[in-house]
Amino acid sequence: MDITITFTVNGKAATVTTDPQRPLLDILREDLQLTGTKYGCGEGFCGVCTVLMDGKRTLACITPAKDADKKAIVTIEGLADGDKLHPVQEAFLAEGAMQCGYCTPGMILTTVALLREHPQPTEAEILNWMDGNICRCNNYPNILNAVRRAVREARR
């Protein structure tokens, strides 16, 4: 039986009637046409589907619709303020932290969540936190530099 959930996505209210088990990832991509959030594995192993749910890092591919009810979701499309990029987006651009860019939205949102939970992370905390996200281009060194830059910027 379908259920109706109401939640906000990037600050806008949304109501969706759907199967309670349907992944939040599909709702974002197919119903709301917010395709910045990607599919990589559907099993929680790669992090390309990362969004923020009530400010917390969340893997949209393993989040069933029912769990998103009454929540506030932020996707990559909701990070910039108009033309002004979020500092983490700026850090990724400045460090050239993308090759194909498919993992980039997930990496950026994972970094945003890191800064919320550990505003001054150690190197080990950065590695532990980011390790759930796969970059198949193996651009890890540039991405790490972007995370470090974002940490430095946030400290200012």
Binding site: T18, D19, Q21, R22, P23, D26, R29, E30, D31, Q33, L34, T35, G36, T37, K38, Y39, G40, C41, G42, E43, F45, C46, V48, T75, I76, E77, L79, A80, L85, Q89, F92, L93, G96, M98, Q99, C100, G101, Y102, C103, T104, P105, I108, L127, M130, D131, N133, I134, C135, R136, C137, N138, N139, Y140, P141, N142, I143, L144
Partner: protein, 750 residues
């Protein structure tokens, strides 16, 4: 294609001679002609005129302006022959529309190459900007659209840099000369009295200027219609490069951090359905029966069976998945025998096409050797695991098929689709938006054909996106290899005889770069039980692994240092230079003299493939209790001629090293009874942040040499360097990829 370089004309050279062909250049260079569109732009839909879109088509799409067509006969033939059967070329098309200069100042450059993270978009933009003398940001690069772009062959084999960069440079240089010609004719001045900068032609003596955009709409351009451009145009010499040779960043990078870029899997058309395809439960299983009714009974679901093909399409992926599950449960299959991943090496060995090819023609010489070593190396089947799984969106309209997809072979897909649906070439269009990774894994059109089948049945656009499990199971694999080497040393400790057989995985880098008097290297095909295909450097990884491990074993047998032993057999100056620099940067000799801490070791390897050269030194530690090898430091030196984009090349080198760590240490498909047992990122462990060792990367720029591709070869040195370091640490030789400590027992030294 050879890029021709001419210096500035000698003082006193007549104007008219500038840009004239010399005998040698003429047959290699591009001949351009120009036509002008004086009509105003209309916003009508693109006419379906086939992949050789006519001029009217271009103007409708790109706006009014000048379309520069380029004769690329020689370049084309060369590309086709070099990139082999998978080139997707061979259309015999030798006039290509390459460059459009719009009246609005926008310069459009067209290429059949695609962007998947390897950096072709930036590199080709730089190439065009360099020769047109315009800022790179003023260029719009249209890639991988079979309607608009010339067939530049499959984006594979590291061919973009040596083939397409010269083609684009030639076209851009020809276009610049055409524009200069137009301006000079208007002004009645000599061609060498003008300067071109940022898309503006200036005649300093008279202070006159004209922009490319103004020329594009001038009456003079109209008169120049179809007038041949000066052939044999010279391209900018390396020492005068302003844009090439710099770390120009990917032009559409901003869209990647905002989520605005539409990858093929992100595309949505009105009325679109999501498709799913029924897969066999195991390799080779045959469908006996299936009941489609459970899916047909579902609302809004389209079900299709055509022979063995069974698929569904529904308004959401979730519904499509449920519908597929419902019918899959009713399916009866007949399974087929299939070797397991542990049996597969014997399986391949037994099924070689020609047993005679395994024989050593130098058996006599081998008999005379002072010392003979004989070893077998194995490499596993692995997957590319691209970030974005195979995906395609197909739409049928009035008998025309358009497919948006991720592929390295847009023109190959175009032909495959034409064959699959019996369509003439002009009724198929393949469009490839920048997508998420290929690594040689996206050359075959299965997802495109699946989407097109379902779209035809549904009468609506259908998008098919493979799941990760499908990608791991049904995409083709990097072939497994069994490599047998027999080598004989003479009394002086030099290799006298070398017999090297690669079974099943391929001929890339099968030849040894070392000087050996009696040398027999051969690839022997076998009967693969899995679908196999290309992968970053194809078989070069396996061949270089086996060879460089054996070189270490021979060095040990000869009582020589691995570095000295290699140098003693190397005549190639580029390999020597790269190897010696890697050793120097790593302090190989210093470290060899020191005693290594228990459980740690160092190793090195070098190699050459696709005209580029690599050497790596690594430091590792082993944890016997955890059965684990940790790579602590990698020093790698890479040389690919003149560097077109240093930052992009550095990323490619690092990407190769880290991707190579996966295949070196962990990645292998495990299968039994035709089923993949680790078709998931949870079980098939690709490299992650924590696997990244200390990296010390050195790019050698070789300015005297044409640029060659760099996105593949840097992967071939890492695995053998690690295996050799494991020997240094433990005294054990591990002759397989992935390199697992458990493959040789402690104390086992042979």
């Amino acid at each position: 294609m050879t890029t021709t370089r001419t210096e500035k004309p000698e003082r006193g050279t007549k104007n008219a001679e500038r840009g004239k062909p010399n005998e040698k250049q003429a047959n290699l260079s591009s001949v351009a002609s120009v036509s002008c569109f004086a009509e105003s732009v209309t916003q009508r839909p693109v006419p379906e005129t086939g992949n050789e879109m006519d001029r009217r088509g271009f103007i409708q799409l790109l706006g009014a302006g000048i379309l520069v067509t380029v004769f690329e006969g020689i370049a084309d033939a060369q590309r086709s022959s070099r990139s082999g059967g998978g080139s997707g070329g061979g259309r015999g098309r030798n006039v290509s529309a390459r460059i459009h200069i719009g009246e609005d100042g926008v310069i459009t450059v067209m290429t059949g190459k695609i962007e998947m993270g390897q950096g072709a978009r930036a590199e080709l933009t730089q190439s065009a900007a360099e020769e047109l003398h315009v800022p790179p940001d003023s260029i719009r690069m249209v890639m991988g659209d079979t309607h608009l772009c010339p067939d530049d062959g499959t984006t594979a084999g590291s061919r973009t840099t040596p083939s397409t960069v010269p083609a684009v440079r030639q076209a851009a240089a020809a276009a610049r000369m055409l524009l200069i010609g137009l301006a000079c004719k208007q002004w009645g001045v000599a061609e060498n009295s003008v300067e071109v900068r940022d898309g503006v032609i200036t005649h300093p003596p008279s202070n006159r200027t004209v922009t490319f955009a103004e020329l594009a709409k001038s009456g003079a351009a109209a008169k120049a219609l179809d007038q041949p451009a000066p052939p044999g145009v010279s391209v900018t010499p390396v020492k005068e490069w302003k844009v090439m040779g710099t770390s120009y960043a990917r032009p559409n990078r901003r869209d990647l951090v905002t989520g605005a870029h539409k990858f093929p899997s992100d595309l949505i058309l009105p009325n679109m359905l999501h498709g799913k395809v029924l897969r066999p439960p195991s390799y080779g299983a045959k469908l006996l029966s299936i009941d489609l009714e459970p899916a047909k009974a579902m609302k809004d679901v389209v079900v299709l069976r055509e022979g063995d093909f069974v698929g569904v399409a529904a308004p959401t992926t979730f519904q499509a998945t449920q519908a597929l599950k419902a019918i899959a449960e009713t399916a009866k299959w007949e399974s087929a025998p299939h070797p397991s991943s542990t049996e597969v090496y014997d399986y391949l060995r037994q099924r070689v096409r020609s047993k005679r090819d395994l024989e050593n023609p130098f058996a006599n010489e081998m008999g005379k050797a002072a010392k003979v070593l004989k070893q077998t190396y194995r490499t596993a089947y692995i997957q590319h695991a691209p970030a974005e799984t195979r995906t395609a969106l197909a739409e049928w309209k009035d008998g025309h098929l358009t497919v948006w997809t991720c592929t390295q072979a847009p023109f190959g897909y175009h032909s495959e689709l034409g064959r699959a649906f019996q369509l003439p070439s002009e009724r198929v269009r393949v469009i490839v938006p920048d997508f998420g990774c290929g690594f040689g894994g996206k050359h075959t059109a299965e997802s495109a054909i699946e989407a097109a089948r379902l779209a035809r049945a549904a009468g609506r656009p259908v998008s098919v996106k493979w799941t990760r499990e499908e990608e791991f199971t049904w995409a083709y694999f990097r072939p497994a290899a069994v490599i047998e080497i027999e080598a004989g040393l003479d009394e002086k400790g030099q290799i006298a005889v070398w017999h090297f057989i690669n079974i099943n995985s391929g001929a890339a880098a099968v030849q040894t770069p070392y000087r050996i008097a009696h040398n027999n290297c051969r690839y022997v095909p076998s009967d693969t039980p899995l679908r196999q295909g290309s992968y970053r450097t194809l078989a070069a990884t396996a061949n270089n692994f086996a060879r460089e491990c054996m070189m270490d074993e021979l060095a040990a047998a000869a009582g020589a240092d691995p570095l000295d032993f290699r140098l003693a057999h190397l005549d190639n100056d580029r390999i020597r230079a790269v190897l010696e620099e890697a050793a120097r940067q790593f302090d190989w000799r210093g470290r060899r003299k020191q005693k290594r801490a228990p459980g740690t070791g160092i190793g090195l390897a070098c190699g050459t493939e696709k005209a580029s050269v690599v050497a790596a030194c690594v430091e590792i530690s082993v944890d016997e209790a955890k059965n684990e090898i940790v790579v602590k430091k990698v020093t790698e030196v890479f040389e690919a001629g003149t560097v077109v984009n240093p930052e992009n090349l550095r990323k490619q080198v690092i990407g190769c090293i880290l991707m190579g760590l996966g295949g070196a240490l962990r990645e292998e498909m495990i299968f039994e009874g035709g089923k993949m047992l680790n078709a998931s990122f949870g079980k098939y462990l690709v490299p992650r942040f924590k696997d990244v060792p200390e990296l010390d990367i050195h790019l050698r720029n070789w300015p005297g040499m044409e640029p060659v591709g760099g996105g593949e070869t840097p992967i071939i040195a890492i695995a053998p360097a690690i295996a050799n370091a494991v020997f240094d640490a433990t005294g054990r030789r591990i002759r397989q990829m992935p390199i697992k400590l458990s493959a040789a027992k402690p104390g086992q030294t042979t």
